[in-house]
C-alpha cells in the first residue's frame, strides 16, 4: 500500500524542528511500523539523505526504547501497544501518518524522533529500589508474599519505562511512571520498610525534573503499553500523604 508520511525532523535540541513529507509506495500490511521506517531510511540513505533517527531496540515491546507520537497518539492508534508492536495493518492504503517525537520539557529532542528520557532513570535513582546489598538477602521463602500481593506488585512492576504516559499527559506528568515503582515496592513486605523515604524522595525528584502533576484524566493508562493502572498514582499519593503526616 501507499503511505504518506509527515515526519518531524530536528537537527538538535537547539534548532527548530519541522515536518518533512515522504511517500512510500510499497508498504506491506504485515510490516511493523518500525520496519516501515526502516524502509524509509533505506530509501533516504540511497538517495544520499540523512535517515530519520529514531529510538528502538528489542522490537518486541519490552525494552521501552521505542516510542513516537503517531497521528498525535503516543505509540499510535492501538491501545496498550508499543510502537514496535504496531503493524501497518492498522493503517489504510493512502493514509497520511504524522510521526513526531514524544514532547515534554523533561524530554529534550536529541535528533529527529530521538528524545532524552534520562529523567526517568533519575527518578528511579532517587529511591526506586529496596536498599539491599548483594549477599544480605535471607532465604527466599522466609519472606512470604501472598499470591494476590505478588500479582498486584507485578502489575505495577511491568512498566517498561518508555515515557508514553508523559508524552500523552496534558500536564507532562510522570506520575504513572513514578507511582508504578512506588506502589510495586509498597505492595511487597520487603519493600515497605523504606516506603516513606522512597516515596518522598522519588516524588521530590520528579518535581525537580520539571515533570507536571497529575489531574487524573487517566489518559496515561490507555496509551501505556503495559496497561499500568492509574490506581498506582492514588497509591503513590497515599504513601506520600502518609509519609508527610507521619513526619
Amino acid at each position: 500500500m501507499v503511505i504518506h508520511l509527515k515526519i518531524w525532523r530536528q537537527k538538535n535540541q537547539h534548532t527548530k524542528g519541522y515536518l518533512e513529507s515522504y511517500t512510500l509506495n510499497e508498504v506491506d500490511a504485515e510490516m511493523s511500523f518500525l520496519e516501515m521506517l526502516d524502509s524509509l531510511n533505506l530509501k533516504l540513505a540511497k538517495q544520499g539523505e540523512r535517515p530519520v533517527e529514531f529510538d528502538h531496540d528489542c522490537r518486541e515491546g519490552i525494552c521501552g526504547q521505542c516510542g513516537v507520537m503517531i497521528n498525535g497518539i503516543a505509540h499510535g492508534p492501538l491501545k496498550n501497544t508499543s510502537t514496535c508492536q504496531l503493524h501497518m495493518r492498522s493503517f489504510k492504503d493512502g493514509d497520511t501518518i504524522y510521526v513526531e517525537p514524544f514532547k515534554a520539557k523533561a524530554f529534550p529532542v536529541i535528533r529527529d524522533l530521538k528524545v532524552d528520557r534520562s529523567g526517568l532513570d533519575e527518578i528511579i535513582a532517587a529511591g526506586g529500589y529496596i536498599s539491599v546489598n548483594t549477599g544480605q538477602a535471607p532465604e527466599a521463602n522466609s519472606i512470604l508474599v501472598s499470591h494476590e500481593e505478588s500479582e498486584s506488585a507485578f502489575d505495577s512492576a511491568a512498566c517498561i519505562g518508555c515515557g508514553a504516559c508523559i508524552a500523552t499527559c496534558k500536564n507532562a506528568s510522570a506520575a504513572l511512571f513514578t507511582s508504578a515503582k512506588i506502589s510495586q515496592l509498597a505492595k511487597l513486605p520487603q519493600g515497605q520498610k523504606e516506603s516513606s523515604k522512597r516515596t518522598v524522595d522519588m516524588v521530590n525528584r520528579m518535581e525537580e525534573l520539571d515533570f507536571g502533576h497529575c489531574t487524573n484524566t487517566e489518559a496515561c493508562q490507555v496509551e501505556c503499553p503495559q496497561d499500568i493502572s492509574v490506581l498506582n498514582i492514588a497509591q503513590m499519593n497515599y504513601e506520600y500523604n502518609k509519609a508527610k503526616l507521619k513526619s
Partner: protein
C-alpha cells in the same frame, strides 16, 4: 518550601477544598429547595432561613472556611496550570491525545473558570444585595430575599445563564469528585469503583437539583 511548591500537596489542598465545596453544594441546595414550596409559605420560610444563616456564629465561621476554600481552590488551580504549561514544552502539530480521556477531565480549568465567573455574578446579585443593599421586609420582619430571587429569575436570559453555569459545574463535579478521592490517596480498586459511581450520581443530582430552581422560579412568575 515543600508545602508551597510540591504539587501533590497542592493537589491535596485542591481535593480537600473541592470536597468541602461539594458538601456546601449539598447544604446550599437543600436550603434552596425551600424555594419550591408554595409561594407565600416559601417567602416566609426562605427569608427566615436566610436570616438564621446570616446571624448564626457557627454558620459564619463555616462561611469563612467556604471563602477560604474557594480562594485556595482557585489559586492552586492557577498555580498548577502554569506549572503544567511549563512542563509540557512545545505542542504537537497533530494532536489526538484527547482520544484517551474525557473532554471534561481535560477542561477542568475552563469549567472551573465558568463556575468562578458565575460565582462572582451570583454573589453580586444576591449575597451582596442581601448583606449590604436595602431589601423590603416580609410580614415576619425578615429581609425579603425570596422576592429578590423571584424578580431575578423573571428574565429568561438570566435563567439560561444559570443553566449554563450549573451544567459547567456538573461536568466539573463529574471529574472532580472521584479525582479528589484519588488525589488524597484512595487506591483500593473496589472503593474506587464505588466512588466513581457515587461521583456520577452526585454530579447528576446536584446539576439536576440546581437546574430546576431557576426554571421553576421563572415558570411560577
Amino acid at each position: 518550601m515543600w508545602f508551597i511548591k510540591n504539587s501533590i500537596t497542592r493537589k491535596n489542598l485542591m481535593a480537600l477544598t473541592g470536597l468541602f465545596l461539594c458538601l456546601f453544594l449539598v447544604i446550599h441546595l437543600l436550603g434552596n429547595f425551600q424555594l419550591l414550596l408554595p409561594k407565600e409559605e416559601a417567602r416566609l420560610q426562605y427569608n427566615l432561613y436566610s436570616d438564621f444563616l446570616s446571624n448564626n456564629i457557627l454558620v459564619k465561621l463555616i462561611s469563612y472556611g467556604l471563602y477560604a476554600s474557594i480562594l485556595i481552590h482557585t489559586l492552586d488551580s492557577i498555580y498548577l496550570t502554569i506549572k503544567a504549561k511549563k512542563a509540557k514544552g512545545s505542542s504537537y502539530v497533530k494532536d489526538n491525545r484527547g482520544r484517551a480521556s474525557k473532554w471534561y477531565s481535560r477542561q477542568m480549568m475552563f469549567l472551573g473558570s465558568i463556575v468562578f465567573a458565575f460565582l462572582v455574578i451570583h454573589f453580586k446579585d444576591f449575597w451582596f444585595v442581601y448583606k449590604f443593599g436595602t431589601l423590603p421586609l416580609d410580614t415576619n420582619g425578615n429581609k425579603d430575599l425570596y422576592g429578590l430571587v423571584l424578580v431575578s429569575f423573571e428574565n429568561l436570559w438570566y435563567v439560561l445563564l444559570y443553566g449554563f453555569a450549573i451544567l459547567s459545574l456538573g461536568f466539573h463535579l463529574l471529574h472532580g469528585f472521584f479525582s479528589a478521592f484519588r488525589t488524597i490517596g484512595l487506591y483500593n480498586p473496589k472503593y474506587n469503583s464505588i466512588i466513581k459511581t457515587v461521583g456520577i450520581v452526585f454530579a447528576i443530582a446536584i446539576t439536576f437539583g440546581y437546574f430546576i430552581i431557576p426554571f421553576y422560579m421563572y415558570l411560577i412568575d
